[in-house]
Subunit: 441 residues, 2 copies
Amino acid sequence: MRTDAHFIDVPEKPRVNTQAGTSRLAVMNFLNEVAGDFPHAISLASGRPAEDFFDLDRWLEAIPLYQRELSTRWGVTRADAGRRLAQYGRTNGLINELVAAQLKQDEGVQTRGEHIVIGAGCQEALALCLLSLCREKNDVVLARDPTYIGMTGVADLHGIEIVPLYAHDDGLADELRTVTERLGREGKRARALYLIPEFDNPTGAVLSLRVRKELLDVCADQRMLVLEDNPYGLFRYEGERVPTMYALDHTGSVVYLFTYSKTLCPAVRIGGAVVPDTLFGDAIAARALVAELGERKSFLTVNTSQLNQALIGGILLSENGTLNRLVSPQRDHYRKNRDLMLSALSDEFAGNDEGIRWNRPEGGFFLTMDLPFRFGQEEVLQCARERHVIPMPLSFFSLSGICQNSIRLAFSNVASTHIAEGVARLGQFIRQCEEACHAAV
Amino acid sequence: MRTDAHFIDVPEKPRVNTQAGTSRLAVMNFLNEVAGDFPHAISLASGRPAEDFFDLDRWLEAIPLYQRELSTRWGVTRADAGRRLAQYGRTNGLINELVAAQLKQDEGVQTRGEHIVIGAGCQEALALCLLSLCREKNDVVLARDPTYIGMTGVADLHGIEIVPLYAHDDGLADELRTVTERLGREGKRARALYLIPEFDNPTGAVLSLRVRKELLDVCADQRMLVLEDNPYGLFRYEGERVPTMYALDHTGSVVYLFTYSKTLCPAVRIGGAVVPDTLFGDAIAARALVAELGERKSFLTVNTSQLNQALIGGILLSENGTLNRLVSPQRDHYRKNRDLMLSALSDEFAGNDEGIRWNRPEGGFFLTMDLPFRFGQEEVLQCARERHVIPMPLSFFSLSGICQNSIRLAFSNVASTHIAEGVARLGQFIRQCEEACHAAV
């Protein structure tokens, strides 16, 4: 039993949940504070969607539209449909068939409404999946290092062990097999592999078709699910589309996670999970997983707001079931921002800066950059204070404290007109650090 | 490690989580199935709010109203306020000050916005509280038996032990002290006592001022929080109002849970928790609890839909911060339904039915009735099939399988015109059972 000086533990410093040494929330709080303390700094840290495309007035009109659809479907008056909409509802969701149709058209994800669980944002669906899959003490989840904070946060908080994978794409499947077999010898069960195969957060990288297939083979062999998180799938700016792992899977080893936070807006808090028809060929187990997700949901949030579901439902109706047209201006904007950032980086670091590299993401909201020196919490503060620009240390996403010399640059939520200036300021800071390093040597 | 015949456990019968022998969800599924199989039966089982008062069209207009307020507060255009509203937001909520003002006016609950955590419904707030308070294996939560399924469900699912209290009101504080001390000797910590002091679900009972104070004394002594759930506080039909335990508390031992699901509608999915200024005099611990709730929330649902918060915010603005006027027609309706049910019961069971008793609730949605025979799952089915009326066995709410001879009757969501007929049918069923009992003897 812990000492009871305080009724609630009051950590003197942020709670240490992982080897990385900082809790997920502490990281986010830190970044919010930096942004608050330096409100005029250019932030390249925020991976939020661009607000220019949020059209609240129009979207609210989608609710009565969906209400009319319900009134037809249920054979009741429009007012009655509104009243039923405002009531408690089905735990696993109301608009599941419309979502299924959209996922099929836009993402090639074939499913039926009853295999979808709609959550209060994708985060809830992810939490439900992890809690449902990792119920025993020896159940663990695997993830690449670095990875998305929302996944590691929920696992940490519920005492679920996260096992990091370090290999580059080429060696990933081999590492996955080796690690899974080692875990088995240790009496642990690798229950799920969390991945963002398309425009990863934080790296911006895409997993190739070959690697996706290799990973699926290992997962099928080892009876381990892939949790395929795909928030950025509709934001590809160049290159050929790679099928989702869900679409490539033939054995029932992929749970697909979706969200409307990036395509529409975060405030609707609608996302969810698609459970495949079978889990490794077992249809009963798949239905049991859907039921388990629903049971957990019923005691966490009862059911997802039917008003918010109606908003999404109305938009899907008015867009003929696809968001492709609606996100087109956003996609163009993000592509433009990415191009501005890439060209500013090329201008700023014209090939003669040793140890400075960045990737060219084919889509999504982020790119990553390697630096010839450590870039952590102190450096963010210094960079914000002295150069008025805020990048995101990649180590904040690390499970084990790697990536100390890298940063994530987000181009999704920064004004296009600020990108060149932001990168120029970052360049000044980097050169200043390099000079300090050289002076110290 | 469990056997892995299925990847996910497939229980042959509903999972047994408690001594009561049925899982919470199995109970709810069962009732939904009964209602689905007998759609023309009169349901006295549903404790949902009455839909006649859901005014979706008007309520949706509250969103732009709140948007205008934000535009003034933030000094931005109305469109910009809308865009910020549609974005991610503060984890612990946006409308906290308006909620604080409403809780003060309507419930006598004095707090400040920063001590409120807004959840995706009160259920999320309750789950966050239980998970935050019961983090060690030996941390337990106490509750009266029978009690609300939403509390027992979340505790069961997360392996938190629930210790039942059986005493009637007069002996409750004594039992609480005895049980808490016994738990201490067993190396367990009683972390919280869950209560619905006002118009309890399922019993409809009100805790007297004296008992509330006695319980507060024990909780302060034992350093155990009260989780005071108050969904029905605004629905008092007669008698003098008793102050909330939060208002009576002077030591910092009550977390207050609120919801807008009953006063406005469930589909907004807005509720929350109020943490007192100190926990047993410790202000740092209180702030740590607020932070802990927020950390957990950030990884379960990120933040509560700002659209739904804006809807509530707009209504609170247009109602001058109190819901008292708005719920007045509902209150009248529920009072009328209660009176119809009480008078139908008096007519049906005119004092000459031995072993048949019911309470007269001063408010809320429910009353309970004792019968001279067992009324469980089979009896509900038989009653629905043969008499076309669906009551709720009280044993469904029991932690330990008590209350086998009692039922809960909800008058909130049944048409007023059906109440007399529903009670008459129930009377027919009860007499039929009594005759069967006598015949068997």
